[in-house]
């Protein structure tokens, strides 16, 4: 350490022996509290706060019944996002990774979800159903896993065939679909009555239930919630992490985190760009790792050469202490 730095360090560390001024910390605190209280009460009275009602399965079944119907078919075929998610919900994929590190798999399945059973069969079984539906449930539960998948996949292909039904269940050609169409229609009907919301909320016969994992996962499998989020600029690649419903400020303090999701390399839609596809597919894990490093840099900034010297190179501090420098001079 140079002599100059040693002297400087000594001045910074030892108790100040130079000129002082009157200071009343309690008075400052009281005035600050009054200002913040007035601002808070005023802003609340003027602008209120956001509270867009939560989505329900009843609302979904009434606003977009075809989408809910198709989603139920996907739950049965195993093609929905939840059905193929992987840990912590099931073992149907490995999940994301950071290079060779597949952290998502480390804790295994801690919140198990069987998409067809939990979203279709169990809710239908939880309440009295028309005979046709009861028969369809029996047919499904007594069939082998392969048979179920064959029925649901065949029906899903037929339902989503752009040259055929194209999403319209009434135009699906005849085929070996087993109970799949009946079950999907029964769930939509149940949801339309409002009973499906209750069935999921009390799943497993629990009176008290505060875990909304299954409802949240299912709601995200369709396009109903996704479309509303897109309309509200809440998607991750449109700064959704910092946006709020309506015109209220959101979590602006997450802007650094949200920034990474705006980069093209984490939003690749070109299937031929394999490197970017890997980055995009694993964006959540990679960005988490990046932010972990950013946070370490932030926390330990006083020890990081270069970063800790920026205030010396860009002397904004002269604005802060301009009055002191004017009165008492500077080196």
């Amino acid at each position: 350490m140079s002599t100059r730095h040693a002297v400087r360090d000594d001045l910074d560390s030892r108790p100040w022996t130079g000129p002082t001024r009157r200071y009343d910390i309690l008075k400052e605190g009281a005035i600050a509290l009054a200002i913040v209280a007035v601002l808070t009460f005023g802003l609340s009275a003027l602008f209120s706060s956001p509270d867009e009602p939560a989505l329900t399965f009843k609302g979904w079944s009434q606003s977009a019944p075809d989408n809910m119907y198709a989603t139920m078919v996907a739950e049965m075929s195993g093609s929905s996002e939840t059905a193929g998610y992987g840990p912590p919900y099931n073992v149907n994929s490995d999940g994301l990774s950071i290079g060779p590190l597949a952290l998502q798999k480390w804790f295994g399945v801690t919140h198990p979800i069987d998409a067809a059973q939990d979203f279709v069969i169990a809710p239908l079984q939880s309440q009295q159903q028309p005979d046709a539906v009861t028969a369809a449930v029996s047919q499904w539960t007594s069939a082998s896993a392969d048979q179920r998948t064959a029925w649901a996949t065949a029906y899903e292909d037929a339902l989503n065939d752009p040259a055929g039904a194209n999403g319209d269940a009434t135009k699906v050609p005849a085929g070996d679909y087993g109970p799949v169409p009946t079950l999907a229609a029964a769930v939509v009907a149940m949801a339309s009555s409002g009973a499906y919301d209750g069935a999921l909320a009390s799943a497993g016969g629990h009176f008290f239930n505060t875990d909304n994992t299954k409802q949240t996962m299912l709601m995200g499998d369709g396009s109903y919630m996704d479309d509303l989020a897109t309309a509200g600029n809440l998607q991750g690649n449109t700064w959704g992490m910092v946006n709020e419903t309506g015109s209220w400020p959101g979590q602006q303090w997450l802007a650094t985190y949200s920034f990474w999701y705006q980069l093209p390399m984490f939003n690749n839609e070109d299937p031929n760009n394999t490197v970017a596809t890997v980055l995009t597919d694993n964006a959540d894990a990679i960005i988490f790792a990046i932010m972990f490093v950013v946070i370490l840099l932030f926390v330990f900034l006083p020890f990081i050469p270069g970063l800790r010297s920026i205030p010396r190179w860009i002397p904004i501090q002269r604005l802060v202490w301009r009055q002191y420098y004017r009165e008492y001079g500077k080196r």
Partner: protein, 240 residues
């Protein structure tokens, strides 16, 4: 008091060792209880004039210094409005206009809290306020900010409205992607409520208290280009 206590010789403190004393205790007695020893250390580390000073160095004269206090008082308003919200339960703000207003107080005080904290942070960065063995002050401030962000995030998750549904759906992918979703389930409303109203505010509170005590202990960092007052005195003495 036992016989052995009476027989024990009393060591006389040197001036440099003396801490605070309680009524009835002689100033030159070495504290022998945990309480007395703690008080002695406390008084030596943070005596009243350091803890609640009536004077500060002359360089503490910029508006930027106000933002640390504004952050603290905003936190007080955040906690106070949050405590009122806990009285009404987790759906109060959906069903009552008073509940909605209190929810607005919580919402806006959080916004102010973060605005003030970010300004405070930038101010301290440009002042390189970690100088002079104040790195722990910076670190605790940074941890307080991160803990506040996590607390705010859980608050957004328990609004029990569309926004919280969407945030839970989106953010679960982030935590799941690195295995944390197995431990912290953002779609579990109950877990998030308890984290938000109990564990995380406690963490923020503790870190903020440590941060403030460190500020008082180390004092406010001198200006980067301040002239050393001791050198000035020495120069004057040499001249005379």
């Amino acid at each position: 008091m036992t016989r052995s206590d009476l027989d024990r010789p009393v060591r006389v403190l040197q001036p440099s060792e003396s801490g605070g004393t309680a009524e009835g205790q002689k100033a030159d007695e070495v504290p022998t209880t945990w309480t007395g020893k703690f008080r002695a250390v406390w008084m030596r580390t943070l005596p009243p004039d350091k803890m609640l000073p009536e004077r500060q160095p002359a360089y503490v004269s910029s508006w930027i210094y106000v933002f640390g206090m504004l952050t603290i008082v905003s936190l007080i308003v955040v906690v106070a409005s949050g405590l009122v919200l806990t009285m009404g339960g987790v759906a109060w703000w959906h069903t009552s206009s008073i509940g909605h207003y209190v929810n607005s107080l919580h919402f806006w005080s959080v916004q102010l809290f973060f605005v003030f904290m970010v300004i405070h942070l930038w101010g301290k960065f440009w002042m390189s306020a970690w100088r002079g063995r104040r790195a722990t002050t910076w670190i605790t401030g940074a941890i307080a900010m991160i803990a506040s962000i996590v607390t705010g995030f859980t608050g957004y998750l328990i609004q029990s409205n569309f926004n919280s549904q969407w945030i839970a759906f989106e953010s679960k992918d982030v935590l799941n992607s690195v295995g944390l979703g197995a431990l912290i389930n953002v779609t579990d409303f109950g877990q998030m409520v308890l984290l938000h109203v109990c564990l995380l505010p406690l963490a923020v509170g503790v870190v903020v208290v440590i941060h403030v005590l460190l500020v008082r202990f180390r004092g406010v960092v001198p200006p980067l280009e301040a002239i050393d007052p001791m050198l000035e005195v020495a120069a004057k003495e040499a001249k005379s």
